[in-house]
Symmetry: C2
Subunit: 394 residues, 2 copies
């Protein structure tokens, strides 16, 4: 898929490693309405600090993104380096510096290799083309094993509205925007407040619901650029229906990317949905689901394909939410395993173990204390996760 007015490019800049795409550029020929959400970590990388400030204008024309270096915890030198790379882009494209968004991912604490940006800028800009979306998706990978993209079209007000999304992220992933980048381009014509509102809502039910290791990064962001090339009637505060349809589609795009991230979680062999029902409140359901989804003991049991529900109920019990242990039911897929806090026996466990052998399954927990229901997406925790993270910098 292409979207008129958006051009992309990626090059092997050699920022950290040779012979791999590590620098990408996304360019909108016209100023695009742009909204972003950023890491909740107090330690924010230089590009995040710059982007947040610039996005107050709700417009951008370029995203410069690199892997191999996070440019986080790099002090003034890191901030200067980021601004320098921004200037290179704005000069080369002939656009205002404030229209450039910056994004970095990689090792924290290393200074940015500005020379590599300088040497590659000419080629990066020269190669811009509507066809290079996948190349950029490749350039932002770090410990990812596959590139993550999604394409979608929806009809709003009689016009086809197109979406192209890419994401990276495989570790340091935790609810609340962590160690992941996602860029979504659309030709929708939409006002900034509506775009921003749609992004926040879609983010809460997608990227903020995935967890790989409970860690939170310094660099994460989701940016959505809408260039209006679809020439649909403006989506704004008066077009509630169109806004809802746009938001739902954006949510689908982001959920698709979010699940791609979990499935490619560092060392992951399974993608698991933890659904908690019957909580007193929705946020309590979410809290319980997150505690289970983040438990190392639960995740290693998934890896071992062991229907060890005792670890799940122990995680529920320490979640901080008031629960009644003798009401809790737990099912793996369609197999009810625990009823009112007690095992349904060996046969049920055998059936549940079959569910665990699948690549993708759900754990459904019923607290029987109300109507609050929420889902969180996680992966299993494997020997390879440790290997990857013990070796990551070497």
């Amino acid at each position: 898929m292409k979207i008129k007015g958006f051009k992309m490019s990626a090059v092997e800049a050699g920022i950290k490693y040779k012979n791999r795409l590590d620098l990408g550029l996304i360019y909108s020929e016209t100023p695009a309405v742009t909204a972003g959400v950023f890491t909740t970590n107090q330690v924010k990388a230089a590009p995040v600090l710059i982007d947040v400030e610039r996005l107050k204008q709700g417009r951008a024309q370029a995203i410069l993104v690199n892997s191999g270096c996070a440019n986080a915890c790099t002090g003034e030198a890191g901030m200067d380096a980021a601004l320098e790379t921004s200037k290179m882009v704005s000069d080369a494209l002939g656009i205002d510096d404030a229209m450039v968004q910056l994004s970095s991912t990689g090792v924290i604490g290393m200074q940015l290799n500005v020379g590599a940006f300088e040497n590659s800028m000419g080629k990066l800009v020269a190669n811009l083309s509507e066809d290079n979306f996948d190349q950029v998706a490749n350039a932002i990978m770090t410990t990812d094993t596959v590139k993550k993209t999604v394409y979608k079209t929806v009809k709003i007000g009689g016009k086809n509205i197109n979406f192209m999304g890419m994401a990276k992220g495989a570790g340091m992933i935790m609810p609340n925007m962590a160690t992941m980048l996602a860029f979504i381009l659309t030709d929708a014509r939409i006002s900034f407040p509506e775009l921003h509102k749609s992004l926040i809502a879609a983010n809460n039910s997608t990227f903020n619901r995935i967890t790989i290791d409970g860690d939170t990064s310094t660099n994460d962001m989701v940016l959505v650029m809408a260039n209006g090339a679809a020439e649909n009637e403006w989506i704004d505060e008066d077009t509630v229906e169109a806004q809802m349809l746009f938001q739902d589609t954006l949510e689908e795009v982001m959920k698709d990317l979010a699940l791609q991230i979990v499935t490619d979680g560092e060392g992951a062999t399974k993608c698991i949905t933890i659904r908690v029902c019957g909580a007193k409140e929705e946020d309590e359901a979410e809290k319980v689901a997150r505690t289970v989804a983040n438990s190392n003991l639960v995740k290693t049991a998934f890896f071992g394909e062991d229907a060890n529900w005792g670890r799940i109920i122990a995680a529920i019990g320490r979640s901080g939410v008031k629960v009644y242990p003798d009401r809790i039911s737990i099912a793996f897929g369609n197999v009810l395993l625990v009823k009112n806090g007690v095992s349904l026996g060996i046969e049920a466990e055998k059936e549940a173990t079959k569910v665990l052998k699948e690549k993708k399954f759900s754990v459904i927990i019923d607290l029987k204390d109300g109507t609050g229901c929420q889902e969180v997406y996680t992966c299993d925790f494997s020997v390879d996760y440790v290997k990857i993270n013990a070796d990551y910098r070497s």
Copy 2:
């Protein structure tokens, strides 16, 4: 070491596995002043529920402890089974049923094999001897690789006061009393309020400061029995100095056991102290230290002997405590690695990496925002942790 008046015994009861000690009994010939602290998990095993109730009287004469089955999430049947085993002990010893404390560790959700208790009770009671402390320490092991004991003597008011402590625990360990058992015997003559106060204080700075995997169990407890055989002057509310000395010694005993647990953490190869200084408040220092100590990414980097301080600073930034990233300093042992949020360079990292190769080291974090300082003890996170926990039930 022996303590007059305490007798111990352990047998191979075959509760889950054959040919290993799995059932232990500790017996005080006279009613001992006894205090306990228990898991904070809302899902509490049957023995925990019984013990808490019985300990209101501040006295006990026996501790019956088994490995191989946690007797947690076993409903009414589990509660009945626990009471049955208690009755076997009280009948055999000719003591009041309420003087028996019960303790179980092992798989959650499995019903207790009461027959195994029944068949072994005669031998268990017949073998009681002042010499069998180590045998019981062996019987309470699950994924522990070594038994954990400590012996200490202190002079209080001219009398020798003896302490013998044992503990088990290797996974599901997290601040706040988790997946561990510890039993401490002393011949001190001390009132219940003073014993209880000493235990709570000592626990907060020892067992509540260790973390292996951030999970919390359903069965954990520390019990201290003081039988008064030392015939020291009663330690009570009027003997502040003696109480402080008693508490300090108890704390030493418990810290020794706590560090033994961390060192034997599932798959652990290193024991690490995370010390956070310069926090606004003590509890904020503790919160930051716990977040770092529980981060999978930090712990896998320790395993990989990688001075990846970026993961430490990222954990600090998501701890929920307000910090100033550009003030943070991080040292590994005596090697300052990060000053005011920025790396001190490759040479410092090389030196820090040497520290990481040691079996035991400290990470010192200075937030430069106050005088709050706290320590937490953790271990690294290895490939073997995952292997152990993926296979634990098989």
